[in-house]
């Protein structure tokens, strides 16, 4: 089956390291280990951000979870903390992710389904009830309404008497990849990014321990991008946030150390390891040379990884355990700081407790049985890995040059560049699969008849009904004058291009809902219907 010119995503071209049956010193001519690699923990951090890597500190096993009402999730948080967890990870439901309240028309059937429903500050109080925010680190996976959720979190901390400069955690807050891939945007690109910069500015001033943005390649890859595209788009997005924060008047060394990254770990084992290594080298050079960051902390790319959900198959789902294990191993060999392993049943439904446990055990086996964590970057110096790292880096730089030539990430979004490129790559992959060039065990080959007998998680409609009635109650009881005044201030601050964080905190305290704050900002920023689709 032919592939369109320009699509050229077939990975096995003869020039690539992957196209050769072996790679030797002649393929690395002119290679200088001192500048390309250095030692772990030193510029350009190809071999890792710490000198001893996992020998002193294992990666964080951060399993993303969330379901039902704030009370349900709070109970789960307390259970996890009681069993030694120090980091909480919060998944929100789809309406919340889209900045809509639980009683919104489009929220029907979605409340509490794939995460916790948070519509008001009251929900947030319940979510973290009895948990000292001064002692835990909290990751919150949310984007378009990220600033609002951060305002809620600040309000909870204030009520607990925890100073803001002690708050530790991560807000995903990466709106650019929503335009490229995940589609959870609300406002047009420019004001959306302005909100991100507002949070960066606010946190830099008040919450220095908070990771402001988790610049994410994961969703870009899952939507169909190649490894090089994932790498390039993610780094380009990180550059865009950096430039805009500098334009806002922030010192690069004040905010850069609090940017973190999030990558997908797919099936092509060595390519993924090369991608993670290349990402660190690229970021170190870009921060030092392009943005003139002076502190080593600004040069280090710290990352979270997740195994590739898109590689899981519904057919013969037990096979997914093996896929996840190899991907997790690649993440560890690539030097990740944090890892989520997918559950074998995630292509069928939300994971059952049993499946989620196997996923966690997979990481624990790598950590405690394989001895792999004993040495930093064990593959460093392999002809093949170094060649792959160089190649993917070169491809990514070429893509970043293209984006620069379009005027940067925002103009490229407006031209539909990211979505089109990702869609083309996704189609090219589908063609390789349909053409027999790319095999999927249990799907294209080694197919079995019959269905799986996997137990699946079911979620009740009960949460939605309770959540909607609670929301009605809050709306009926709140101080109307205070509520209106807070939304008016929010509208004015947005209109005058001020940082909206203080206004959001005030609105949160006045019991304004997520949906109301989003709608108020929509009046000023407009709503985005999406860029060109193809």
């Amino acid at each position: 089956m032919s592939i369109e010119p320009g699509v050229g995503k077939s990975k096995r071209s003869a020039d690539d390291a992957n196209g050769k049956s072996f790679v030797g010193p002649e393929d690395l001519r002119g290679y200088d280990p001192a500048s390309a690699l250095s030692v772990p923990g030193s510029f350009p951090f190809t071999r890792g951000v710490h000198r001893t890597m996992y020998r002193d500190k294992l990666w964080t096993m951060r399993q993303f979870a969330g379901f039902g009402s704030a009370a349900d999730t709070n109970e789960r948080f307390k259970y996890l903390l009681a069993h030694g967890t120090t980091g909480l990870s919060t998944a929100f439901d789809l309406p919340t992710l889209m900045g809509r309240d639980s009683d919104d028309k489009l929220a029907l059937g979605e409340v509490g389904r794939c995460g916790v429903a948070v519509s008001t500050l009251s929900d947030m109080h319940v979510l973290y009830d009895g948990i000292n925010l001064g002692e835990v680190s909290t990751s919150m996976t949310i984007n378009a309404p990220a600033a609002i959720v951060l305002a809620f979190y600040i309000c909870v901390a204030k009520k607990q008497g925890v100073p803001l400069d002690q708050l530790r955690g991560t807000l995903q807050n990466d709106i650019l990849k929503e335009f490229h891939a995940q589609n959870e945007y609300v406002f047009p690109p420019e004001p959306s990014v302005k909100l991100v910069i507002d949070t960066i500015e606010y946190c830099t001033q008040h919450m220095p321990l908070w990771n402001t943005v988790s610049v994410s390649g994961y969703h870009i890859r899952e939507a169909g991008a190649s490894a090089a595209e994932e790498l390039a788009f993610t780094i380009a997005d990180g550059m865009a946030y950096t430039q805009l924060s500098i334009d806002r008047g922030l010192d690069v060394d004040a905010f850069a150390p609090r940017l973190s990254f999030f990558f997908d770990v797919h099936n092509d084992f060595f390519e993924e390891i090369a991608k993670l290594r290349a990402s660190r080298r690229m970021w170190a050079h870009i921060m030092r040379d392009r943005f003139k960051a002076k502190h080593e902390r600004s040069w280090k790319l710290r990352m979270h990884c997740q195994t590739a959900g898109v590689t899981l198959t519904e057919q013969q789902p037990m096979n997914n355990v093996m896929r996840v294990a190899y991907q997790a191993m690649a993440a560890v060999l690539g030097g990740t700081q944090s890892l989520h392993t997918n559950s074998m049943d995630e292509t069928l439904a939300l994971p059952t407790e049993e499946a989620a446990k196997v996923a966690l055990r997979t990481q624990q086996i790598i950590a405690h049985e394989t001895n792999v964590p004993q040495v930093a970057d064990p593959l460093g110096g392999s002809y093949f890995i170094e060649k792959m790292t160089d190649e993917i880096e070169a491809k990514a730089y070429a893509i970043i040059d293209q984006i620069d030539a379009m005027g940067g990430v925002l103009p490229a979004i407006d031209r539909g560049y990211f979505r089109r490129t990702i869609a083309e790559s996704a189609q090219a992959e589908q063609r390789r699969i349909d053409g027999g060039e790319q095999k999927i065990v249990g799907v294209t080959d080694f197919v079995e008849d019959g269905t799986h007998d996997m137990e699946m998680l079911k979620i009740s409609q009960d949460t939605e009904d309770k959540q909607v009635s609670k929301l009605k109650d809050i709306k009926a009881k709140r101080d109307v004058a205070k509520h209106q005044a807070a939304l008016t201030r929010l509208r004015e601050d947005a209109n005058q291009d001020k940082n909206v964080m203080p206004a959001l905190v005030e609105a949160a305290e006045a019991d304004a809902t997520v949906g109301e704050m989003m709608d108020t900002m929509k009046e000023v920023f407009g709503a985005y219907g999406g860029g060109p689709e193809w």
Partner: protein, 383 residues
């Protein structure tokens, strides 16, 4: 792997005009996972199918109204939110209510095997799970399309006279397919036909969507003909204009039909006059014809339209291009869209210079819904 085993595939019955099969692809609800639907959209195009994609965040109601107006051969729904047992019954209920039960609905996404029988029983024509091969899906769509019967005039003439949109939609399909509509002559109407043209990316579709809404809110009846290019190789097409015009309340007098430029043997020019006649006779006040982009395949449309709106955007340099192409001369008025972007004022000054006469120049922003009312004020003075 296909969950419902595909039946032997019949080739599409060739219509007189070689009209390719038409499918409407929809994502319903808040879920944004659109990788699958986009891969399919492209694959359908490459397999010679015309694809109307309605974009993200659609309601069941908007989707089925779109199916009605487009009178597609198949509706394909993508659902990865596990809402299939809520959404599919609602779609099927609407299909019955709207009297378009001739249009089969297929489903793709994460659907547990145990639900397949229930879906088949309620009337879903096929279910495709992750891992299904594109060839199988394409085969099923072509087979379903081949079962789309020619329109019987006696079934639709009455409905058309009573201003039923599904009758109008079916008649347009007849014209597209080159079926005989002999003995049927729509009444003469007095619609104002307005061509809307401009370079790709200036936001023509969004602008037409907003303008249409504005005119409808003033009590006008509005139809849109949205024309996108066909693939010269496969004859398939991605018809993406409609997704910018999905109306919040689809029951109103706002009719949108997507056409592929190469859908008919003789090109658009053969089909368009008849389609416009049908729309005019139906009683629309305004018919907005969105063309592929200035100078590309929109010849003929301009002869059919009594007015032309030229849409531009800031800093595009389009004015220069259009001056060369002579399109500036024929425009009735100019719409400088995307005025939320910087450079709008400078472009406006250049444009005033380039126009050189009293023809109006409107500044609009479809993102912020600004300036649309002024354009509508002008439109209603046209005849």
């Amino acid at each position: 792997m296909v969950s419902l085993a595909p039946e032997p595939i019949e080739m599409t019955k060739p219509t007189k005009n070689n009209q390719p099969p038409r499918i409407l692809l929809a994502k319903i609800g808040l879920d944004g996972h659109d990788r699958g639907v986009k891969v399919l959209a492209r694959s359908f195009r490459d397999a010679g199918i015309e694809v109307i994609y309605t974009g993200l965040w659609q309601t069941c109601e908007a989707t089925m109204y779109a199916a009605l107006q487009e009178d597609v051969d198949v509706v394909g729904v993508s659902l990865l939110s596990a809402a299939h047992l809520t959404v599919m019954p609602e779609l099927l209920r609407l299909r019955k209510q709207l009297d378009i039960e001739h249009i089969p609905i297929i489903l793709g996404g994460i659907v547990p095997k145990e639900d397949h029988a229930a879906l088949a029983d309620m009337g879903v024509a096929a279910v495709f799970n992750p891992g299904s091969s594109v060839d199988d899906i394409v085969g099923k769509v072509k087979q379903l399309a081949s079962m789309h019967e020619p329109v019987k005039l006696e079934d639709v003439v009455d409905g058309y006279a009573k201003r039923k949109q599904n009758a109008l939609a079916k008649l347009i399909t007849s014209v597209q397919r080159g079926e005989s509509v002999e003995g049927f002559e729509p009444p003469a109407g007095d619609a104002v036909v307005i061509g809307v043209t401009g370079a790709p990316g200036v936001g023509k579709s969004s602008f037409i969507g907003k303008l249409g809404e504005e005119l409808v809110s003033r009590g006008k009846r509005v139809a849109v003909l949205a024309i996108d290019p066909s693939s010269p190789i496969t004859g398939g097409a991605l018809l993406g204009d409609r997704l910018r015009m999905m109306s919040a309340s689809p029951e109103r007098e706002f009719f949108v039909r997507s056409l592929a430029s190469g859908g008919a043997a003789g090109g658009l020019a053969d089909v368009c006059p008849d389609v416009l006649k049908l729309l005019t006779g139906f009683g629309f006040d305004y018919i907005l014809v969105e063309t592929v982009g200035a100078g590309q395949g929109d010849v003929g449309i301009r002869e059919l339209a009594s007015h032309t709106l030229l849409v531009l955007m800031p800093d595009s340099g389009d004015a220069v291009q259009f001056s060369k192409a002579g399109i500036m001369e024929i425009a009735t008025c100019f719409v400088l869209n995307k005025c939320d972007l910087s450079g709008a004022d400078a472009t406006q000054s250049q444009l005033i210079g380039a126009v050189g006469d009293a023809r109006p120049i409107f500044k609009t922003s479809t993102l912020k819904t600004e300036g649309i009312d002024k354009v509508a004020d002008f439109i209603v003075t046209l005849s």
